[in-house]
Symmetry: C2
Subunit: 376 residues, 2 copies
């Protein structure tokens, strides 16, 4: 962790206390606190990066993108779509009945903290400073009721690439004997309580040689590990493609936000960038002849298996703040694996295009829709 | 809270530290701790009571019960079936991959702590000293993985009757837009994380004038508030009862332990005492002509509604460590209420019989199957 953390307390009489940026250290928490007894705890995951590269080496198809491309490092720490993290945190806090907070104010405090600890931002590619805003319920009573007291804090820690596997795809074990989230549950909120139940199944998956769990609800795919899940499937055009002489249509499919799925910010960004290809901007390295179509729709394991057998399952990948984009190499269930086509450097062309475009935006090499926000 | 608490720490190198009984006070917890970030937290709820009464005023049908009836107060603090709490805690700890512990050793430490703070045990009827053993994950790393460090602590607090409503039945709002537990979820474990999602629905129920939520999964009843749920339903005997001239058959029904239900200790005790009536022991105040039959089976809201219309729904009640047994007066759903028959003093004859029998056992007035355990 870095040198400092930001802390602010809420009580029902005084509201939020003046925020304090103080040396990193333990919190004094009453043993009867709501956060320890009833898991009233909400967090966010954000990343801060420094503008690193010099001149974009990527080709752009549209002039309105080229002119906004990054012109050189400004040395300022950059956040990626932080307004979405703030909005999601507000929604999560409401779900567990913690006191609401001023999202604009919190974002300003995060930027201030990042600026103070800016020397901790790694300058090695693929590394970043991870930001963890957290709100915990601190009502110190065992009565089973909402917490009317809270502590909001922000801590920072430098991180390397999420998977230390280097350039190899990850393997997933499809799991439905344990269920991560369900209709009417809390899977759509970023709550501490969504994670503890995943550790035992994750240990089991690791024992069987898989990197992460692919969470199912019955046969339906929801998420992978703590990430959103995508597949790229070539459309079955009945051979028209050959006759017409041009292009391939590919559906990029992810489960819909039906209440069981975390509305990931990398997920939303992936959908937007996929939708922009190739009409508004091509993904780096991907031919404009590949026409991508976003689909937010149900994905089942048997369907994946069928597509794989038909040779239409081109790629599977996971997305998330920590990992950005990771390739999936195989998906195991009941002793058999669905195997994805291998690619040099692990990522297939669509996943690689997304990875490069998102990190270009994050690191300030490429301007897109104001997603990269410099700290003042 | 009382003057003291028991604290013991686990780390992967040294295992569990020597336990310490120390003055009650805040714990120093790293802001990145697993318990705050990923809700690795397990607790138990137990009660300690003093043997209070003098001579049992209740009639016993079987001599083997009468001879074990309580003969007078011994002044020793008594726990109720603490072995079941220890076993359940062990199971819960396993579910969220926290380090296992010696259940016998913990029970001894709890007894020691209770003895030290014995002056806090209330001597007013209906009051008791509540015991809250808790284990929290203290791994201080943001990586989404099991906690290999933990702190186990026990805190005590004197409590009065659970519902401050006096002798009135509670009202329940049946809720299925929020779902407390799900097959493959964690509803069968006593985890902190099962509670935070219930606070918002509980606030909504209160706003509509209901005391607690009745948790549904679709139409199926699971639990009520943080308690197990029972109904007593007169069997439809087609009028045989009148012809045969004797007795009434009543099913005492509670949802089965299918993975969505907390295996409550008062729930288990209720089932055992109901099964014992009237062959092995009558419930106090209940005629031996009322034959009770335990049913662990699916309970749906439409079924309850039908039984109510037929006049066969005799009682609905909730059970739990804090409440022991509480009468349910009405159950609301979609703007209509299922109304239960009113009883003087709120509890119907079956619920009252159970309440009296269980508190008799807890307070040492009545010996049954070794359920009441004196602290050494």
């Amino acid at each position: 962790m870095t040198d400092h953390m930001m802390v602010v307390h809420f009580d029902p009489v005084h509201g939020w206390s003046p925020p304090e940026i103080q040396p990193y250290g333990p919190l004094a928490i009453d043993p009867a606190s709501s956060c320890l007894q009833y898991a009233t705890s909400v967090f966010e995951g954000m990343k801060v990066l420094l503008a690193l590269a010099e001149i974009p080496t990527l080709s752009f198809t549209e002039s309105h993108m080229a002119h906004t491309a990054y012109a050189g490092p400004d040395g300022k720490p950059r956040l990626f779509r932080p307004d979405l993290n703030m909005k999601r945190m507000e929604t999560s806090v409401g779900r567990v009945a913690l006191p609401s907070f001023d999202t604009d104010e919190l974002l300003k405090l995060i930027q201030k903290l990042v600026t103070i600890d800016a020397r901790w931002i790694p300058t090695v590619e693929g590394h970043s400073l991870y930001i963890r805003p957290t709100i915990i319920g601190t009502r110190d009573s065992l009565g089973v009721a909402a917490s009317d007291r809270a502590t909001l804090y922000v801590i920072l820690c430098p991180t390397g690439p999420f998977f230390r596997t280097g350039a190899r795809p990850i393997s997933l074990l499809a799991v439905n004997e344990h269920v991560r989230s369900w209709p009417g549950g809390t899977g759509a909120y970023k709550l501490a309580l969504n994670y503890a139940p995943t550790f035992r199944p994750q240990q089991h998956a690791a024992k069987l040689g898989y990197d992460q769990c692919l969470w199912l609800l019955g046969d339906t795919i929801t998420e992978a590990g703590a990430m959103n899940f995508f597949v790229a499937v070539r459309r079955d055009d009945g051979g028209k493609e050959m006759l017409m002489g041009g292009g391939t249509d590919v559906d990029v499919i992810t489960p819909p936000l039906d209440g069981t799925i975390l509305p990931g910010i990398t997920r939303a960004s992936t959908l937007e960038l996929v939708a922009a290809h190739p009409s508004r901007a091509t993904l780096p390295g991907l031919s404009p002849d590949v026409r991508l179509h976003t689909v937010e729709g149900e994905l089942t394991l048997p369907q994946l298996s069928t597509w794989a057998k038909e040779g239409r399952l081109l790629e599977a990948f996971t997305v998330g703040t920590a990992v950005v984009v990771a390739a999936v190499g195989r998906i195991g269930h009941n002793g058999t694996d669905i195997v994805l086509p291998p690619h040099e450097g692990a990522l297939g062309p669509i996943a690689r295009g997304l990875y490069e475009r998102i990190t270009d935006i994050q690191e300030g090499r490429f301007e897109w829709e104001g997603w990269s926000v410099a700290c003042a």
